[in-house]
């Protein structure tokens, strides 16, 4: 069985060779036919050519003029819905911190100004609540995905 998560954060369980699959626990009929040949990075799906490549845990797929990304969902990995934790969307430098620990903030309020590729980006609160922790100082270089700020969300 292959376990996957799509860009809408739906969880798929698919077994190749089985006529059924589940998405978020709901059962789907698997009617698709696949053909593969000796060439890497491609297959035919219901007679249509798809290009595929795996980068780390992600399958990148090009079919019918569209690009899709599916992540292999391994057990023990939590989903991306990290409660109240705000992460850097790209690598860059912290230019400004616009909040302090203990501040009451609202969803959408700008908390951090980052710079990447010579452009400024505003990082806004993803939840209303109280600032519990600030993990980086002004001037620091952060990686994509680095936790920047923890917010204790209000109910």
């Amino acid at each position: 069985m292959v376990e996957l998560r799509d860009s809408n954060n739906r969880r798929w369980e698919i077994t190749i060779g089985s006529s059924e699959a589940t998405c978020d626990g709901e059962t789907f009929v698997n009617e698709h036919t696949f053909e593969i040949d000796a060439r890497p990075n491609r297959l035919w799906v219901d007679g249509q050519l798809a290009h595929v490549v795996k980068v780390q845990d992600d399958w990148w797929i090009h079919i019918d003029g569209h690009i899709h990304v599916l992540s292999i969902d391994e057990l023990g990995l939590s989903g991306s819905g990290d409660e109240g934790g705000m992460t850097a969307p790209m690598p860059g430098k912290i230019l400004e911190l616009l909040c302090n620990i203990g501040d009451q903030v609202e969803t959408g309020q700008t908390l951090i100004v980052m710079e990447a590729m010579k452009m400024e980006h505003r990082i806004a609160a993803n939840v209303s609540g109280t600032i519990a922790a600030i993990h980086h100082d002004v001037g620091e270089q952060v990686d994509a995905g680095a936790t920047l700020i923890d917010i204790n969300s209000e109910e």
Binding site: V2, L4, D6, S7, N8, W12, I14, T15, I16, A21, C23, F28, N30, H32, F34, I36, P40, N41, R42, L43, V45, D46, A50, H51, V52, V53, K54, V55, W59, W60, I61, H62, I63, D64, G65, H66, I67, H68, V69, L70, I72, P89, M90, P91, G92, L95, V113, E115, A116, M117, K118, M119, E120, H121, A144
Partner: protein
């Protein structure tokens, strides 16, 4: 004799060109060098070791250092590279040093041919305020509003507020030395003025080393239409019609087309004439672009003149049949333009899209990752200008533009259909790009109708854009995982930098892998 046969009799003959740039524009210039029988030299910094632009040139010179000012902005090192390789001319490309008059002067002082306009023209047009003044004198219409140079953010607050009130909202704060959307901020309400001013000034200081910002009235529902001009040293000047570049995100162009879908012939002629007058007003030499805002009422206003080759120059090449880089080189060698205005005509319609490594579903934030599969579309009327190939990485070191995809067709509808097909056929996997968004622009009724004002993206995707989800894709991923269909994508880090430890192309001259 210096240079190829066609150069015979040229006042400033050229035999080998160093391109003081990188990426797609360096590759594009090297192709013209090869076709003209000229030698070519690339410069590269550590992150560009093994890059396409390094390998496309006949020779390459490594510039050590971690910062741009030590490498692509290092005038001394670039001139030393030219001397070392015997290059006798320098092409600056766009960006980097292309609009620095000090560089133009240094190149000439070193006894080399500068492929670009004079330092005087660069300075006159580079300062938005002197440019505006020169245009008023030359009778070229300018944007209504008030200019206000601001130098010190802390001392200028009151002056800024007064000027903003006189100009009126919404207004635009622009870096005087700016371009490409950097250091440019829209202010819709007085309460955001100071915050946006601080950001614009800071961006300008980081990007251009000059924090001067000024205030201008924002003309909404307007179009960005620019005219390509070409002038030689004998005073001959022509325009090669217009490009419409209205579709922008964060003031950076995304889609450009030529000709404009709305310009009437009489306006085209008036605009072309104004552009030629603008160029003549500063004794311009070579290829340049005069940008106008075309207002809803059909009136146009001078925005700025870009004293260099533009990113979107290929669409003009498509519709005019003129190779702009070849003409730049000929003009720099002192040769006359080989055609007059009456010999130039518009043939068909061309569209360019800029493929960026960015996430259109997440506020167009830059994305990074490997170009794990990179299979560009092919076919008649399709051109791809790029500095990357399969296996390269989209990194944060440079601009996120990966490639320019250009199509040419007999008419606008055919060009749109061709571009849609080309975007759909482009297999570019491993890094998030705006390809899906570009496809949707090509299918949008407003684009087909030519309703391409500068707020096109905000108006047509007010809630932002999101990709179509697919119910078959999970099955494809599952099958691919099950059958192990992927070649391994790995990045080898060696002491020499990125890339495979043994690369046969590194030892080949002029390879086009």
């Amino acid at each position: 004799m210096v240079g190829p046969d066609w150069m015979e009799g040229a006042p400033h003959p050229i035999s080998k060109i160093l391109v003081a740039n990188r990426g797609e524009i360096a590759c594009r210039i090297f192709r013209s060098c090869a076709e003209l029988g000229l030698g070519s030299v690339s410069i590269y910094s550590e992150p560009d070791r093994g890059s396409l632009h390094q390998q496309t040139a006949d020779e390459s010179v490594f510039l050590p250092g971690d910062t741009l000012s030590e490498t692509y902005l290092n005038i001394e090192a670039i001139l030393a590279a030219a001397e070392e390789t015997g290059a006798d001319a320098i092409h600056p490309g766009y960006g980097f040093l292309s609009e620095r008059s000090t560089f133009a002067n240094a190149v000439k002082a070193a006894g080399l041919v500068w492929i670009g306009p004079s330092a005087h023209a660069i300075d006159e047009m580079g300062d938005k305020i002197s440019a505006r003044r020169a245009m008023v004198t030359a009778g070229v219409p300018v944007i209504p509003g008030e200019e206000l140079p601001l130098e010190n953010p802390d001392e200028m607050v009151e002056e800024l507020v007064r000027a903003a009130t006189r100009v009126g909202y919404p207004l635009l704060l622009k870096a005087s030395a700016g371009g490409g959307g950097k250091g440019m901020r829209v202010v819709r309400e007085p309460r955001n003025l100071q915050r946006e001013y601080a950001a614009a000034s800071r961006e300008a200081a980081t990007s251009f080393g000059d924090g001067t910002v000024y205030v201008e009235r924002l003309l909404e529902k307007s179009r960005h239409v620019e005219v390509q001009v070409l002038t030689d040293m004998m005073g001959n000047a022509v325009h090669l019609f217009e490009r419409e570049c209205s579709i922008q995100r964060r003031h950076q162009k995304v889609v450009e087309e030529a000709p404009s879908p709305v310009l009437e012939q009489t306006t085209r002629e008036r605009m072309g004439e104004a552009a030629v007058n603008a160029a003549k007003a500063v004794d311009y030499e070579g290829a340049g672009t005069v940008e106008f805002l075309l207002a809803e009422d059909g009136e146009f206003h001078f925005l700025e003149m870009n004293t260099r080759l533009q990113v979107e120059h290929p669409i003009t090449e498509c519709i005019s049949g003129v190779d702009l880089v070849v003409e730049q080189i000929r003009v720099a060698a002192g040769l006359p333009l080989p055609f007059s205005q009456s010999e130039l005509t518009i043939r068909g319609h061309a569209i360019e899209v800029r493929i960026y490594a960015e996430d259109p579903a997440n506020n167009f934030l830059p994305a990074i990752g490997p170009l794990a599969l990179f299979r560009p579309p092919t076919g008649p009327g399709i051109r791809l200008d790029t500095g990357v190939r399969e296996g390269d990485e989209a990194s944060i070191d440079f601009d996120p533009m990966l490639a320019k995809l250009v199509v040419h067709a007999p008419d606008r509808e055919a060009a749109i259909r061709r571009m849609k097909r080309a975007c759909e056929d482009f297999v570019l996997l491993g890094v998030t790009t705006n390809l899906g968004f570009l496809c949707d622009i090509m299918s949008h009724p407003a684009f087909h109708a030519g309703d391409t004002t500068t707020d096109f993206i905000e108006v047509n995707w007010p809630e932002g854009w999101s990709p179509k989800s697919s119910d078959v894709a999970p099955f494809i991923a599952a099958a691919s995982e099950h059958y192990g269909l992927s070649r391994k994508v790995t990045t080898v880090e060696t002491e020499e930098g990125r890339g495979s430890p043994y690369n046969p192309f590194l030892s080949l001259r002029r390879s086009f892998p």
